[in-house]
Amino acid sequence: MEEIASLLSGFGVVLTPFNILLMLVGIVLGVVIGVLPGLGGANGVAILLPLTFSLAQLPGGKTSAIILLSCIYWGALFGGAITSILFNIPGEPWSVATTFDGHPMARQGRADQALTAAFTSSFVGALLAVIVITFFAPLVARFALSFDTPELFAVQFLTFASFVGVDRAPPFKTIAAMALGFALASAGFDSVTGTLRMTFGFNDLVNGFPFLVAVIGLFGIGEILRTMEQGLAFRGVHAKINPKAVIQTWGRLVRHWSTALMGSFIGCWMGIKPGGATPASFMSYGLARRFAKNPEAFGKGEIRGVVAPETAAHAAGTTALLPMLTLGIPGSPTAAVLLGGLLIWGLQPGPLLFIEQKDFVWGLIASMYLGNVVGLLIVLTCVPLFAAILRIPFSIIAPAIMILCAIGAYTANNAMFNLWMVVMFGVIGYVFVKLDYPLAPLVLALVLGDKAEEAFRQSMLKSQGSLSIFWSNWLVGIIMSLGVLLLFWPIISRAIALARGRTRVADAPT
């Protein structure tokens, strides 16, 4: 039970007045970010990340910085439920399934129940996921210690391949978006030889395309442009949560423990894979409806229709940090931004983190427990305040967020040119989302591009340029083969469906 001892020492790191203050600030900021249109977990964290640069230089500052940023993430996850239920506006793609039953509940005057159910489910999902991280992450890290560069590249390959296999976007659009991310990542200094690539004599491109600028533009400005185009008017339901409603709802929720458990399980499982939170929430909703005795109640304000997607989405959002910490591979765009933060602070994400930066890792894990408890209390008590933010007219919020995006882009590395870049990424984000080009693989490729290239080139050096090194032992071979399987999954699954269809046709006459 070495993990328990490590966890307790982690609580020792977290429980300082300064870190608890940061936790509170992070959660509140996070909920605000989750509620505001145009700001989500990923670009909210991206905008605030440069503010932690000086904090991270202090002793113990890296732990404080990650507590602040990860709490923003938890807050944003909670905040998504508020807009979904009260305003029928999913703040993040994984809150879409929450609107199905959450908003009808609010319309029927049961907003307090829906919100309590959503927050509590989120909390339960996250809690189970943190327990998984506590006991599972050290194992994965220990296992990953034996990884050499080919294995490292194989895992990265598997990550990107799984986007093609899992994402609901057209596979070739996923591949194109991903390749664009890699291409953008390769601009600037070549980290191996130091030569300049794809700068074409522009000094502004020497540092390449900073991923923070890309995230802020793609998710922030792109979203505002889409919202302005649709001429959004918020029509919300007023809500207040009183303690009586909370207790009553909790009493009803106990009966739905199996739905919550299933949702958490699906979330934990899917969250470890990249891009898992959104499919996890839909899958959990779908299964809850299939196993229900009264499936026709779903979509009309069934409380289980809130419990199922919320537990899954929160569990998935939390376990997305597991591969980030243990393997250096983020499971979601927000995890990718956090990973980029770690790199900027001078930490090397991966298995060694668990040996060399024990305080950091266990401080973070301990803060996940505390952060979710604090988050639950804050959102349950302050819902009217947060909902009031959405009643501020969009013509005031939109320019303020635009300014914040511009400032955030500038502070990424104090370059004026970033301002032009962020506008460009904003237009790309606007067009891409409307055409079903997925943004997450683009961002992940941009963050991981240099690392993946390094791992690939070093592997090639070892093998004198032969790809056979990726099948040189059983470990790397299995990972790589899985990757190839996932990469061709859209074709394979279609072939299977075709074959089945044919046998069915053959059976039909009899």
Partner: protein
């Protein structure tokens, strides 16, 4: 998402198919840039160094080109996409009405600094889109600029670009705040 859909009605200006073709062509162009620069850098094998600088980007460029070519072909034969609306004329105007001022704002930051440009941008945005009286916009603009000033310049010590107006003002304001003992 029922509250979000809809938006400005109007005749279709650009179909999804047209936009798909445009984006695929642009991606092909990007691939061409990546491949040509990789060839300049050398995409082969060099003794002692191993893979040259252009080695990895070259294959990335090829993948980008291949995927975009398929996306292009699919778009060309996409009859359903030709019926779907990418955007309408009022919607494009609405987006441009946001985008063009944003570009002007970014250019203004170069010359008059973040804080002044932000206040003006905020005021005009509220006046144009929100139909607020210009003085209310200006008031909110100044407040927002001041909030960002406190957050970045004072609390987190991140200096932002300044111009001829806010540059001399900043030390005065921060000196005033310090004399009040606020930080």
């Amino acid at each position: 998402m029922s509250d979000r859909e809809g938006g400005p009605e109007g005749p279709r200006l650009i179909s999804v198919r047209t936009m798909d073709i445009v984006v695929a062509l642009m991606m092909l162009g990007a691939a061409a840039i990546v491949i040509s620069d990789s060839l300049r850098l050398g995409m082969g094998w060099q003794e002692l160094v191993g893979p040259q600088s252009g080695y990895f980007p070259f294959y990335i460029g090829l993948i980008l080109a291949g995927a975009s070519a398929i996306n292009l072909l699919r778009a060309v034969f996409d009859t359903r996409g030709a019926q779907k609306t990418f955007t309408t004329k009022p919607a494009v105007l609405q987006v441009l009405a946001v985008l063009i001022p944003l570009v002007i704002y970014v250019a203004a930051v170069y010359y008059i600094g973040t804080y002044v440009a932000s206040a003006i941008y905020m005021a005009l945005f509220m006046w144009y889109f929100g139909k607020y009286a210009i003085w209310r916009g200006a008031l909110v603009g100044l407040a927002v600029s001041f909030a960002f000033f406190l957050m970045f310049e004072i609390w987190f010590l991140v200096p932002l670009p300044k111009g001829p107006i806010d540059d001399p003002l900043v030390p005065i304001i921060s000196g005033f705040l310090r004399s009040l003992g606020l930080y």
